[in-house]
Amino acid sequence: MVEWTDFERATIQDIFSKMDYEVVGPAALSRCLVVYPWTQRYFGNFGNLYNAAAIMGNPNVAKHGTIILHGLDRGVKNMDNMKEIYAELSVLHSEKLHVDPDNFKLLSDCLTIVVAAQLGKAFTGEVQAAFQKFMAVVVSSLGRQYH
């Protein structure tokens, strides 16, 4: 069971409640596809991903980025049983989508950078620690059903 301090809980709720999923989601996913281009392997049917500008303007990428953030929202609302909440999504990513779980960390790092840029000075070391801990639990939960 993951132990969350009051500060960590409050920080996660605060960050996500103020977040515009339709801005941050697309920004994080498109950044991931640019910074780690091999992640594009999972989006063969998304259309034009030939360069950064195409990726950033691609409506399929934007739509999917938002979906991902809503997936994170589930964890935000169920911080005490994220393993169970993500079990089904984990099976999906393993059995159907065949995503290498190492990619979850890559996307998580890009999301951290996007959130840092948005929050600026408010993204202190302590806030970063809480955010990265939350993302680490998400990443771990999503990787659990792989075999």
Binding site: S30, R31, V34, V35, A52, I55, M56, D109, T112, I113, V114, A116, A117, Q118, L119, G120, K121, F123, G125, E126, Q128, A129, Q132
Partner: protein
Amino acid sequence: MTTLSAKDKEVVKAFWAKVSGKGEQIGTDAVARMLTVYPQTKTYFSHWKDQSPSSPSVRKHGITVMAGVGDAVTKIDDLKGGLLSLSELHAFTLRVDPANFKILSHNIMVVMAIMFPKDFTPEVHVAMDKFLAAVSLALAEKYR
């Protein structure tokens, strides 16, 4: 993974020109964050009386690290050769596990995103990520 294209080098040099004025601040914040977010890294600094983010030791070390990064930018065409003595320092004296270079690189980029949100675009991010990875590899060159 670590060959920098001409475009990468151009992007890194241009971004560094923009941000190097704040090098000390970037370095201090990056080291402070590393110690807070990755507490295992504190094991390398047990000789510091004060390991807190606002301590003078953290600031001094942040300045040292960023000066190294700035130096690496000037040696971007031959990082292995240019960083040889720094590699020997890290290999034989400091013996920092190279996994930690990745951690510090990540925190440097988080600080860059915080301080220069409009300039740290995905294109700059990928070039910087590649550059810091190349620097890390050059630093690990003499390890074994």
